[in-house]
């Protein structure tokens, strides 16, 4: 009897579709297990005394109350120290300025859409920015101190390297995000690469570059407060001296002054960036 009602009614095999070969929970628990194993192993490997971690809070409080309190505020108000603060500000200013002057061409060469040659200049510029960024600012400071001797020049150069890495990457990313229309228009008139940069790209990134510049200064100041620790001038030197002499009340005062100065610089930079963004 063959009719239209003779439809095969057997159900398809019961198998839920799944993108994983094994149940997803297996992957999840496997991942958690792996992470826990790594965690335990690294705690053992690093020889971390866990019991110290739990008694730490009491000890930190004790330490602060006994040794660091009260901070010797008079020390940070002495003329010597205030002079070193001015030095630090100058160092950060110069380092950020030189760094940004070098970072602008590096950003240009290191942006994939505007670089003069994608096979040679682009990777070189990328490599320079990456290595300047990868090496920590304190290592730069130590290297320059070893080569040039103690003093603020080493600090300025260390901050310059730091700012090249920091600003170069942000500048390149900013240039990569531009609208290519004006660039093509200026290229079509037969302008040189430099004029394309000046009239096609620069007006588009001007505001962003100013913002990045202010932020770079802020970050450079943060770094400048400690590179003196390794002999590169500024207030870090006072920090090191007092740490070594175990003048804990002075250390506390210096740390407080660093925190206050960084907060002030952050507030100033946030205000300036807001102004720049508004002027856009």
């Amino acid at each position: 009897m063959a009719s239209a009602t003779d439809i095969r009614t057997e159900t398809p095999p019961l198998r839920e579709w799944n993108r994983f070969r094994f149940p997803a929970s297996l992957y999840r628990w496997g991942g958690v297990l792996l992470a826990l194993t790594f965690l335990t192993y690294s705690i053992i490997y690093l020889n971390i005394p866990l019991e110290r971690f739990f008694t730490m809070f009491g000890r930190v409080g004790e330490l602060l109350a006994d040794r660091y309190y009260p901070p010797e505020i008079d020390y940070v108000l002495e003329a010597d120290y205030l002079g070193s603060v001015v030095d630090t500000i100058l160092m950060a200013y110069l380092g950020a300025l030189f760094g940004m002057l070098l970072a602008v061409p590096l950003g240009w060469f290191g942006s994939y859409n505007m670089t003069p040659s994608r096979h040679f200049v682009y990777p070189v510029a990328r490599l320079v920015t990456m290595s300047a960024r990868a090496v920590h600012e304190t290592i730069w400071a130590i290297l320059f101190v070893t080569i040039l001797g103690f003093g603020m020049m080493a600090g300025v150069l260390a901050l310059t390297m730091f700012c090249i890495g920091f600003a170069g990457k942000l500048f390149a990313e900013e240039i990569e995000a531009i609208d290519m229309g004006p660039v093509e228009a200026i290229r079509a008139t037969g302008a040189s690469e430099l004029s394309v940069m000046a009239y096609g790209v620069f007006p588009q990134v001007r505001v962003a570059f100013t913002g990045i510049g202010i932020y770079t200064w802020d970050v450079a100041f943060r770094a400048a407060t400690v590179i003196g620790f390794f002999g590169a001038g500024g207030m870090g030197w006072y920090l090191k001296r007092n740490v070594l002499q175990i003048e804990t009340h002075r250390v506390a005062a210096i740390l407080l002054s660093i925190i206050v100065l960084v907060l002030v610089s952050e507030a100033v930079s946030a205000w300036a960036r807001a102004r720049v963004a508004k002027a856009k």
Partner: protein, 273 residues
């Protein structure tokens, strides 16, 4: 006639304003240049030992010292490199755990009592971000003694600010409907957090954590300078024994480590997000 007169006046006013703004700009430029000259004089000219640099050719000599690789050191770098990675990882994880209260208090739409908890969280974030890792490490070395624990704690404290800030901003931008839905069925504040907020912000948090981990490798590679273990300690020893080729080797090892971190974070980010 009146029209041309007002137009003339208007044009005159604009020209006047332009020359004024040009004058102001010129003055600002002069001020900036004077500041540059002054700071170059104060920092570079006055504060450098020029005799030492120029007369004895010390400068070139001290640069050439660094050229070359100390191959004998390479096997001794493996264990500190692993330590550095572990300190960075543990520090980042601890930082994420410590972040939770900061994120909870610091997002304006879920903070329990805005006038008090919000400023506290913001202050925590700013403090954590603005204190340099060297300073944190010095503090924790004094508190818990030499060794990796101080490094882990320093990294964790330094990471809180950035992770918490980005995550709190993500929470402030989230879609309020699931929150309302969970509230409507009588969920507690904690359940609201787990079922309505967490699923929405988790990708952002994971992304920013991976990014911070990458930066933390760079940070943990220098914490040894102040006594917190890892590659920084080897660097410090090589420098103090005047083995400058060893210094170059350690720096290259740090570069390799950071490259490794970038590759890992690229793949993890692709797999998770």
């Amino acid at each position: 006639m009146a029209v041309t007169e007002t137009m003339d006046r208007e044009v005159g006013r604009i020209i006047d304003q332009r020359s004024k703004s040009r004058r102001v700009r010129f003055l600002i430029f002069l001020g900036v240049m004077a500041l540059v000259v002054w700071s170059v004089k104060a920092t570079i000219i006055d504060d450098t030992d020029w005799e030492r640099l120029i007369t004895s050719g010390n400068f070139l000599e001290s640069i050439t010292q660094f050229l070359g690789i100390d191959w004998a050191l390479v096997p001794n770098l493996v264990s500190p490199a692993i330590e550095t990675i572990m300190v960075a990882t543990l520090g980042t994880l601890l930082g994420v755990v410590l972040c939770v209260p900061a994120i909870w208090f610091g997002a304006l739409n879920i903070t329990p009592f805005p006038p008090i908890t919000y400023p506290i969280a913001r202050l925590m974030m700013t403090l954590s971000r603005s204190i340099h890792e060297i300073v944190w490490a010095l503090f924790f070395v004094a508190a818990v003694g030499l060794g990796a624990l101080a490094g882990v704690l320093a990294i964790a404290m330094r990471s809180i600010g950035f992770i918490a800030k980005i995550s709190a901003e993500a929470i402030e931008d989230l879609d309020p409907k699931p929150v309302e839905a969970i509230r409507a069925v009588g969920g507690s504040e904690f359940q609201v957090f787990i079922y309505a907020i967490l699923p929405q912000v988790l990708p952002v948090v994971i992304g920013v954590t991976i990014f911070e981990w990458e930066i933390n490798i760079r940070r943990s590679s220098i914490l040894g300078l102040v006594g917190a273990g890892g590659l920084g300690l080897v660097f410090f020893r090589q420098l103090n024994t005047f083995n400058y080729e060893g210094v170059t080797t350690v720096i290259l090892a740090i570069l390799v480590l950071i490259l490794f971190g970038e590759i890992v974070s690229y793949f993890v980010r692709k797999a998770v997000i």
